[in-house]
């Protein structure tokens, strides 16, 4: 362990203060007994209780969760397939164009993606609701998945697939039994990325949703416009808590895995 210089301590403190003070304030005020957000009136958990009785919020949370799970799953399947073809497909006609095009939605302003989806849904006469939000989220998160997966595929040793084929596996079996298990960590992080993007999204969901379906970010946004309520603070604190738990357990799991691998390798070295 190296000791930090005073300058480093100061910059570290400043940086983290900048990042976390807003969230800290939000969490503190979620335990405020007063209805007024800016006045502290003692500790209370009543807003959490209120939240659980608020049908609208619960509905919105349920919609958001369903949309996120379904859209990130579809996006992962499609994105992985696209990445596989673009990295592995050899030099077929238009490949450069296709691989450029798959990244385009990443830089496209969300408003434009949302608007074009809205026009499409109206054009084909699709009723806006959960289905259209799922479709919209799949559309934009799929490119993120394919970026993550294709970067893993590029460093993947091609001869492993060849060995599988050589041993009599069909191309699909080679993918299922060799490629997929090895790139699984990238596929899973692609799924997690798509999931958080979907949880997060406000702009595209606003375009794609109809009166029958409201996501949590949309609900929060619309109620904040009527004034910040302590209930929103409580909801946001819960979200922060969930994310924190998720991040910590993911990093613990990966640390554990690498530690175990290291131990196995050492054990192997000792016995041979």
């Amino acid at each position: 362990m190296t000791r930090l210089s005073r300058f480093n301590v100061v910059s570290l403190t400043l940086g983290f203060a900048f990042l976390y003070i807003p969230m800290l304030i939000l969490v503190i005020y979620s335990f405020n007994a007063s209805k007024l957000v800016t006045v502290w009136a003692g500790f209370s958990t009543k807003w959490y209780g209120e939240l659980l009785r608020n049908e609208q919020f619960l509905d919105a949370a349920w919609v958001t969760l369903r949309v996120a799970v379904i859209s990130s799953t579809i996006a992962t399947v499609l994105g992985t397939m696209a990445a596989y073809v673009l990295v592995r497909g050899g030099r077929f006609f238009g490949r450069t164009l296709f691989s450029g095009m798959i990244y385009a939605p990443l830089v496209m302003p969300e408003v434009i993606t949302g608007l074009s989806l809205l026009l499409l849904f109206i054009g084909i006469g699709l009723d806006r609701g959960v289905l259209t939000i799922v479709l919209a989220h799949t559309t934009f998160s799929m490119c993120y998945v394919s970026v993550v997966v294709s970067s893993r595929l590029m460093s993947f040793d091609r001869s492993l697939e060849e060995a599988a084929l050589d041993l009599g596996a069909s191309p699909f079996d080679a993918f299922r039994l060799v490629t997929l298990p090895i790139i699984a960590p990238a596929v899973i992080s692609g799924w997690l990325l798509a999931f958080t993007l979907s949880l997060d999204d406000l702009v595209i969901a606003s375009f794609a949703s109809g009166p029958s379906a409201t996501t949590l970010p949309m609900k929060i946004w619309s109620s904040v416009r009527l004034g910040v309520s302590p209930e929103i603070n409580a909801l946001s604190s819960i979200l922060i808590g969930l994310v924190t738990v998720g991040v910590i357990s993911a990093s613990l799991a990966s640390k554990h895995a690498s530690l175990r691998r290291q131990q196995e390798t050492q054990a192997a070295a000792r016995t041979t």
């Binding site: 040793d157 050589d166 041993l167 009599g168 090895i182 196995e264």
Partner: protein, 386 residues
């Protein structure tokens, strides 16, 4: 041990295994004017080659000469740019790798990192849909053969380099294919295990009649196991022949130089009898006489290739030898069982003579800067035109 390959072939009614000498024999593999280019780089250049069933065929050549590329074309991972490849008489261009009765051991091993040693070996067997007990029995056999029983449950990253190589070998042997391609199968093994495995491979071949194509950088290994050797250079085959002929009658200076140690003397030829030529290698020296079945014209420049162990070295001038040259000992390399004397001729050429050390070191009488005589017989060298 070479005798292992010589069996009684009833159809030929001879005790020799030499299908390449039989004009009616059908090759298992036939490369016909195969060219393989990567962009504007030609890795295999108009190559024609027949390999017969039950052969143990060795590919030998410097790094980058196209050995792996040839194997990859046989396994189906590369398509020839031109020409055709036949397996058992049929063009295999349209057959995908997983439908070819060919297994390959990769130079990089290509072990599946997420599967245990056991599962790696079982992978190909499972694809055949064999029943569990048969698979388990076969995997156990392979583990025993490659002495990996203790490591069956380990993952590839938990075993040593040599063990990985054995897993790759076991995995490719497991399916007992008609044709087995081994890309440097024994490079990472220690001498003892390598020798044992060579015998095992020859034994497997005896039992199963599998055809082996093996890439190796080890000439001794090629000499030990191969029925025929192909020496390659820059995508071309320089010579294909049995190990003894490759060694004794190379067809070019390149092959002579690539296999084993050799002395090359350059000069011009004049005929001095039937199948006999005089090589004028230095202006003020008597020419060397050598026998050659290959015709040469008078005045043609040529090279005499002669192996160091065929050159005798003498302290006193000997009588009645075919070729006698004088020189001075430049260097002596002591190799334990052998010693190599580097002898400088008056013209500046250096000829190596190799002598078996049948006496103890202290009793040998030739040392540095001694004037010596070297000699070899009329038939000991080979005359080469290129």
């Amino acid at each position: 041990m070479r005798a292992a390959h010589f069996f009684w072939d009833a159809s030929l009614n001879t005790p020799v295994f030499a299908p390449w000498a039989d004009p009616d024999a059908k090759p298992l593999i036939r490369f016909q004017n195969v060219t393989k280019s990567f962009g504007d780089f030609t890795a295999i250049d108009d190559l024609t080659l027949d390999i017969f069933e039950r052969e143990f065929f060795a590919l030998l050549g410097p790094s980058g000469c196209g050995k792996t590329t040839m194997m990859r074309m046989l396994a189906g991972f590369e398509e020839p740019t031109q020409g055709r490849i036949e397996l058992a008489g049929r063009d295999i261009a349209a057959v995908p790798p997983n439908k070819r009765a060919v297994n390959m051991m990769f130079q990089s091993y290509a072990l599946f990192p997420h599967l245990s040693v056991w599962e790696n070996i079982a992978f190909g067997l499972r694809r055949e849909g064999k029943d569990k007990a048969a698979i388990a029995a076969r995997v156990e056999d392979m583990l025993k053969l490659t002495r990996l029983q203790k490591f069956a449950r380990r993952k590839p990253h938990q075993i040593s380099g040599g063990q990985r190589q054995r897993v790759a070998l076991a995995r490719s042997l497991a399916k007992a294919p008609k044709l087995l391609l081994l890309d440097e199968p024994l490079g990472a093994l220690d001498a003892k295990l390598r020798e044992d495995t060579q015998f095992e491979l020859m034994d497997i071949q005896e039992k199963t009649g599998t055809t082996f194509v093996i890439v190796t950088h080890d000439q001794e290994e090629a000499m030990t196991v191969a029925s025929r050797i192909a020496v390659m250079d820059e995508g071309k085959i320089m010579q294909v022949d049995t190990p003894d002929r490759i060694y004794e009658v190379p067809n070019s200076v390149y092959v002579a130089d690539f296999i084993g140690d050799v002395n090359i003397l350059d000069g011009t030829l004049t005929a001095n009898g039937e199948n006999s030529f005089a090589l004028h290698y230095a202006p003020d020296q008597a020419p060397i006489t050598a026998r050659s079945d290959r015709p040469f014209t008078d005045g043609q420049s040529a090279h005499l290739a002669i192996r160091p162990e065929k050159v005798a070295i003498h302290k006193e001038k000997p009588e009645g030898v075919d070729n006698l040259l004088s020189g001075e000992v430049l260097d002596i390399a002591y190799l334990g069982n052998l010693s190599t004397y580097h002898v400088r001729l008056p013209g500046g050429q250096v000829v190596k003579a190799q002598i078996a050390n049948t006496r103890r070191l202290s009793r040998r009488d030739i040392t540095w800067e001694d004037k010596v005589w070297i000699s070899w017989t009329f038939t000991a060298g080979v005359l080469l035109d290129q």
